[in-house]
């Protein structure tokens, strides 16, 4: 497991990367907002080295998300779909879910309660 982390101006973001089966799991912790989102993009780039087809984004430890965070998630979805992969979001709290609904993103993502649920979906539905 590798970890990318950065803190600054009171806000903090970390992304852990691990690989399970054919999926890279990116566990995001902290404030998924503003310029910090660049860290998530870097993590996505690093995850490419694992050559896993799918991505599972664990957002259970995310405190808040804004437009930049959402754009990074949709950007990841676009890249994965282009390469025939899938992106599954898991661990969404009610606040995150409401952001997804407000931005109409809830209809384009597969969502699971936990990482294991996401892996199960990928096994059943995608492979």
């Amino acid at each position: 497991m590798s970890e990318l982390g950065r803190s600054g101006s009171g806000r903090h973001l970390e992304v852990d990367i691990s690989t399970v089966d054919n999926a890279s799991v990116l566990r995001v912790t902290g404030a998924f907002v503003g310029k910090q989102v660049a860290l998530f993009r870097r993590a996505c780039f690093q995850a490419q080295a694992d050559e896993a087809k799918h991505r599972i984004i664990d957002l259970s430890e995310v405190e808040e998300i804004d437009g930049y965070g959402m754009a990074a998630l949709v950007g990841l979805l676009a890249r994965r779909r282009r390469e025939g992969g899938e992106v599954v979001l898991c661990g969404l709290n009610p606040d995150l879910r409401s952001v997804l609904e407000a931005t109409n993103c809830d209809s384009i993502y597969r969502m699971a309660v936990s990482t294991s649920g996401a892996l199960e979906y990928l096994k059943d539905g995608k492979e």
Binding site: D66, G67, Y68, M70, A71, A72, V74, G75, L77, A78, R79, R81, R82, V99, A102, T103, N104, S107, I108
Partner: protein, 379 residues
């Protein structure tokens, strides 16, 4: 719809002024050379026979200054009133002449002559009048000519202009670039990009300068909006404007392909910021669907569009995206009956309303598809 194109090349001034050397500057250059050399001669003679008690050589100094001035004035006049940088070139050559004496004057004149091949802002008005007229008949289009085929043939009428560019002379090529810029649609900007690959430096540099100007205009608008957002971070309307501006830029044809992904994500972030600040604005959801479609995510775009249509059923862009998805599904399954079913389904929906007669910016091929399906009777 008809398009008429005419190119007229005519200018009585062309016979008076050579395109290679503007004769207006010639008398000043000759005078500058004479003054400069005579001034140098006077100074050299004085140094040969004079002593430290000799008076200051006012006459030679005056001639030296006059030569420098005449050089600058000659360059200024020779470049013509349409050359925006002529004052700068005039001052530069003048200072050159002043600092280096006769050698400087000759060098300045040579600089002017050697720089004649560089592109200028509006060379046409001075040496050549070349104009291309493209007239589009307004709204009086027979219904049966509204089909997809007509759209294709209309584009085919424009394409040959880019093909004929290598045959056109430089002023005509520049006139075409100007006309394309005036029209300013995506296809026109893409053509200017093609012109930027022309082998002639005057043409490709001019095309690049036009693209550069348009990009700077966009950057200026983004900067001023960003400043406003910084001052009033709670203003949702400003965020909407920022998102719209980026969408417009992405659809303008100005965007370099290598930066497309970056700008796509940047546009999305502004759009989401606007959506979060203004959740009731259904049009932003439609823009989101359009952005997804631009990345080839048509099924996802249709999903979003369907959600948006539940809130605001009259949004044309969202309707067309749903239609596009239905069509692509039919094609990918390669079953004609599915296509008919899809068409019927689309027509039975409340959002199957009249498609506008003219394609709006950003609608792209979905517009043609809608015309193909609905026609005027079914719409």
């Amino acid at each position: 719809m008809s398009r008429t194109v005419a190119v007229e090349i005519e200018s009585p001034r062309r016979h008076v002024l050579s395109p290679f050397f503007n004769l207006l500057g010639l008398p000043f250059f000759i005078l500058a050379v004479l003054c400069s050399f005579y001034s140098a001669y006077l100074l050299l003679m004085q140094a040969e026979v004079g002593s430290t008690t000799d008076p200051f050589p006012f006459w030679a100094f005056f001639l030296h200054n006059l030569a420098a001035f005449m050089t600058g004035l000659g360059v200024f006049l020779a470049l013509g009133r349409d050359e925006e940088s002529r004052l700068g070139w005039g001052l530069f050559t003048s200072v050159f002449g002043f600092l280096a004496g006769p050698v400087g004057v000759l060098g300045a004149i040579l600089t002017y002559l050697m720089a004649r091949g560089q592109p200028r802002q509006m060379p046409l008005t001075e040496v050549v009048k070349a104009e291309m007229f493209v007239t589009v008949a307004e709204e009086e289009e027979p219904d049966d000519l509204q089909s997809l085929n007509l759209r294709v043939s209309e584009q085919a009428q424009v394409e040959p202009f880019v093909d004929m560019l290598p045959l056109a002379d430089i002023p005509t090529a520049i006139a075409i670039v100007n006309r394309l810029r005036e029209r300013g649609e995506r296809a026109d900007i893409e053509m200017i990009r093609e012109v930027a690959t022309d082998p002639r430096p005057e043409v490709y540099q001019y095309a690049l300068s036009i693209i550069d100007k348009m990009e700077k205009q966009f950057a200026g608008e983004v900067y001023s909006l960003a400043q406003e957002i910084k001052e009033q971070p709670g203003d949702a309307q400003l965020k909407i404007e920022m998102a719209k501006l980026h969408i417009e830029y992405m659809q303008s044809g100005l965007l370099d392909e290598s930066l497309a992904d970056y700008y796509w994500e940047l546009t999305l972030s502004y759009l989401f910021e606007a959506m979060l600040a203004h959740p009731a604005n259904a049009e932003l959801g439609s823009d989101f669907a359009q952005l997804l479609s631009m990345q080839g995510l048509v099924p996802e775009a249709a999903q979003v569009a369907k959600q948006v249509l539940k809130k605001e059923p009259s949004l044309m862009q969202a309707q067309l995206l749903v239609l596009q998805d239905l069509f692509e599904q039919s094609v990918s399954e390669a079953r004609l009956e599915t296509l008919n079913t899809a068409r019927k389904t689309a027509l039975e929906n409340a959002w199957a309303v009249r498609v506008p007669n003219k394609r709006k910016p950003g609608m792209g091929p979905t517009y043609d598809l809608a015309r193909f399906w609905f026609g005027d009777e079914d719409a």
